[in-house]
Amino acid sequence: MHVESVREIVAQHGRLGVPITELHDDGDLYSAGLTSLATVGLMLALEEAFDIEFPDAMLSRKTFSSIASLAAAVETLTGQQSAQQASAR
């Protein structure tokens, strides 16, 4: 459900070598030019947009491998973190 907004953020912050329109949701971001350092900017933008925090364990190559895997990670984190907030209340 977050795929479109994730796609927009990847386009803006991924520093890819190809236009985002040429990428499928499950296309490999690394072969499209994503580097390890560029994942930091992408992570920060996603954290800001969705009000989430990526734990170290999720900062893996797998998480950043495609738009779909990033959207899935955002899904997991928004779910977890809103559940935590609810139980804190």
């Binding site: 070598g17 690394y30 030019g33 390890s36 350092l37 994942t39 930091v40 920060l44 900062l59 893996s60």
Partner: protein
């Protein structure tokens, strides 16, 4: 993907090997080092002496006939060599980085298995061509690309620096995977002297590390596609090239620093003998610089031990973590700064005897060499990378 295991059972006596290296250092490497430095020429007698000890295949596993040394031992050898000639130590270190890239990442390639056996037999020397004119020193970006036609490739790279390029037997080169690949989609290709040409682009007349002969070249190479390492370069970089480079470089900078402190100790001892009742003022400076040397040594050894343990664990993801990459970068920045600090302090202790080129306490070349450390992969670039990675790092 499995990593080639560092070889747990040594078939030789490492401390005997290290003593032999120190003997070579005194008898062959140090005597040649003055002319190597003055003429900015390749230390041919030193490298041939290392060949005689089979040290160019030191990191090649025993199954291919190599000595099967591990990264901890490689670091100790770099440190030992730097006591006698930092250029020789640097050439040895850079060669071992290339060997480690092949050993760790050749997978089940028949070509590279055969190559490693030949490397043992022939004691070949491998150079590196990573940086490229037009990319500003960024290893993770290439302009050149291999052009593949069936099972052959053609490659042209303008490299601002290929250390000992003219003396090497092979060069390990980064390039884009194909002419239509993005700049970060890179491969690592081994090219051989018989099928490449080098055209010099620049000379090598520098303050220090003069014997590394790090001229710039246009490299034009042909070869078979089996000469391309079977994993993407970014994996080779994070698992092997990045950590191994900073570990072996820091080890040899440690050797330069340790030699300077050794000379300072000898100088203070000679002063103390003249007046045994009153310790010379320089003895306090010596006591201070010895603390800095100990800190530097402990950091080099600790990070090397961490990497060695990770290689033994075989957890491929661990190498990609920002925490590990940051610690490796910290080691580089710290060691490259401390070597200048320590050699400078040692020179203050030795005074004019350290400043002279013709005294037995001379530290002139050591200081010139030490200043190179912060520039080879510029510390500002490394700090910039760490600044970015620290934004993402949350580990306690």
């Amino acid at each position: 993907m499995t990593i080639a295991q560092p070889h747990p059972k040594p078939a030789y006596d490492f401390s005997a090997l290290l003593s032999e290296i120190h003997r070579l250092g005194r008898e062959t490497i140090e005597p040649a080092s003055h002319d190597v430095d003055a003429a900015a020429r390749f230390p041919v007698e030193a490298i041939n002496a290392l060949r005689d000890l089979q040290l160019l295949s030191a990191y090649v596993p025993a199954q291919y006939g190599g000595l099967g040394l591990n990264i901890v031992q490689l670091g100790r050898i770099c440190e030992a060599l730097a006591h006698y000639c930092a250029s020789t130590a640097m050439i040895f270190a850079m060669h071992q980085i290339q060997v480690a890239c092949i050993v760790h990442h050749a997978g089940d390639s028949h070509y590279f298995a055969r190559y490693l056996r030949e490397l043992v037999d022939r004691q070949w020397l491998i150079a590196s061509a990573t940086t490229e004119l037009g990319v500003g020193g960024d290893l993770r970006s290439s302009i050149c690309a291999i052009e593949v036609d069936r099972d052959r490739f053609h490659l042209v790279k303008k490299a601002p620096v290929i250390s000992y390029g003219e003396q090497a037997d092979q060069i390990l080169v980064t390039s884009r995977r194909a002419p239509d690949a993005s700049s970060s989609d890179q491969v690592h290709v081994l090219v051989s002297k018989s099928t490449y040409q080098l055209e010099a682009l620049s000379s090598w007349d520098t303050l220090g590390f003069r014997g590394t002969c790090s001229l710039g070249f246009t490299l034009t190479a042909d070869g078979g596609t089996e000469q391309v390492l079977p994993v993407p370069f970014d994996e080779i970089l994070s698992r092997t090239m990045h950590p191994v480079s900073h570990i072996v470089w820091s080890s040899l900078w440690l050797g330069i620093a340790a030699e300077a402190v050794q000379r300072a100790r000898a100088f203070v001892r000679a002063e103390a003998r003249k007046n045994p009742q009153l310790p010379p003022a320089s003895s306090l400076r010596l006591a201070e610089v010895d603390i800095v040397l100990q800190n530097m040594r402990n950091n080099v050894h600790a990070v090397t031990a961490e990497y060695f343990a990770m290689l033994n664990d075989g957890d491929a993801d661990a190498f990609r973590g920002f925490g590990f990459a940051t610690r490796i970068n910290n080691l580089k920045v710290s060691s490259s700064q401390l070597v200048v600090e320590i050699v400078s302090q040692a020179m203050l202790i030795c005074g004019i005897a350290g400043y002279r080129n013709d005294s037995r306490f001379t530290l002139a070349r050591h200081l010139r060499d030490a200043y190179g450390a912060a520039l080879m992969v510029n510390n500002d670039r490394i700090l910039g990378h760490n600044a970015t990675m620290l934004l993402a790092l949350k580990e306690v």
